[in-house]
């Protein structure tokens, strides 16, 4: 997994590439904790290059969205690829998280 961050206005975009699984999820967990601790609570996960997520990845996303909302922000999803969307659908995440077709739309939703 590769993780990149970019600040766009009042929003932080995390681009997550590759595989989000038990071996890589701790890195995303640490990154989310750091950003939230630093006050970046409007978060967009750019999933355009995320090929796979396992249950470990889901757990990190859930913790992220819960903590962001507790702090008054949100973690929103953008550009979900079909393989990942299947897992997010099956696990009910699409019913609790806001998702957008692209990053621009997700960033704009925080305006």
């Amino acid at each position: 997994m590769e993780l990149k961050t970019e600040t766009r206005g009042n929003t932080l975009v995390l681009t997550i590439s590759g595989s989000l699984d038990a071996l890589t999820a701790p890195e995303l967990s640490d990154a989310l904790s750091t950003q939230l601790r630093d006050g970046n609570t409007n978060l967009v996960a750019d999933l355009s290059q995320l090929e796979y997520t396992s249950s470990a990845g889901l757990r990190v996303m859930l913790n992220g969205v819960k903590e962001a909302r507790q702090k008054g922000g949100d973690l929103r999803l953008a550009a979900i690829q079909p393989n990942v969307k299947k897992v997010l659908d099956l696990s009910g995440f699409m019913s609790i998280m806001k998702a957008f077709p692209d990053v621009d739309g997700a960033v704009a939703s925080f305006a």
């Binding site: 595989s19 699984d21 038990a22 071996l23 796979y52 396992s54 249950s55 470990a56 889901l58 757990r59 859930l62 393989n83 299947k86 897992v87 659908d89 099956l90 696990s91 009910g92 995440f93």
Partner: protein, 282 residues
């Protein structure tokens, strides 16, 4: 996650003949030398869970299941059922209702498994059913394999509930269409969860189709809700193995088993790189 600590569970959810996709997964695991530590099955998944756990090779499993689960198992109607619906006060309506006589199904199951017991399985086997009287999940781990399968396969409205050890059992999908929780409870670290959404009816032109549509809506939502809960509470990994079918597959389309097995293989191959890394602890 080292090999010594890792216990791989194969969970095969409800899905009628589509569950044959588990044979494709079995083939991939065998080829890669990945040992299965336990097998869990619900409803149609129970048939394949039992075949795999009892030691059938992928080829044997495909051949045996093609004989086990044919349209013929529903060929003998329960003549009393229609009268029970129309005149319940005359013919009596009770928990034993079912539109199909299970004689043929029982014959097919006995032909394959005879007097085998669940505890005879080479890989620990867990079959799920539902207690008709209180709705609780029942996990069958010992006793007659034929009776356990019959209980797990007791599709509501079609087959009568089946009494096992004093409990009246109906289909395992009613409590959990993909019983990942059983593998979690039995301490599996890596759970390969093969599940199938129930198909929606193209046309609603009969009471039974209407009933199946309601059943599909409820069971698909139950599948997602249970999967979400189990994926989030498990300490290890739950890897969903979700075969994709381009063609529509009917409940008894055993002629499509080779195609279904291939779909299972493809779905397994998608998870394989990560599964191997996970088991290697890299």
């Amino acid at each position: 996650m080292s090999n010594q600590q890792t216990r791989v569970a194969l969970v095969i959810g409800a899905g009628s003949v589509k569950c044959a996709a588990a044979i494709g997964l079995q083939k991939v695991l065998q080829r890669e030398g990945i040992e299965i530590g336990m097998v869990v099955g619900a409803s149609g998944g129970s048939l394949y869970a039992a075949l795999i756990a009892m030691g059938a090779s992928p080829e044997q499993a495909a051949a045996q299941s093609a004989h086990l689960w044919t349209r013929g198992v529903t060929a003998k109607r329960n003549g009393r059922a229609l009268w029970q619906i129309l005149l319940p006060n005359v013919f009596g309506f009770d928990a034993s209702f079912g539109t199909v006589d299970d004689t043929i199904l029982m014959q097919q199951l006995r032909a394959v498994y005879g007097d085998a017991k669940i505890e005879d399985a080479k890989i620990p086997l867990y079959l799920t059913a539902t207690d008709f009287e209180n709705g609780a999940q029942v996990v069958l781990t010992q006793g007659s394999l034929v009776d356990a399968l019959r209980g797990s396969l007791a599709m509501p409205y079609i087959f009568q509930a089946h009494r096992v050890d004093g409990r009246l059992l109906v289909d395992g999908y009613l409590t959990d269409p993909m019983p990942v929780g059983v593998a979690i409870k039995e301490n599996a670290n890596v759970i390969l969860a093969m599940g199938f959404e129930s198909p929606y009816q193209g046309t609603i032109n009969a009471l039974l189709r209407y009933t199946f549509q309601i059943s599909s809506i409820m069971s698909n939502n139950l599948l997602r809700a249970n999967y979400a809960f189990h994926a989030l509470v498990h300490h290890g990994e739950v890897l969903p193995i979700l075969p994709q079918f381009e063609q529509r597959i009917g409940a008894f389309d055993t002629d499509k088993i080779p195609y279904i097995v291939q779909a299972g293989e493809r779905a397994a191959e998608q998870q394989l790189p990560y599964l191997k890394k996970l088991l290697a602890g890299s």
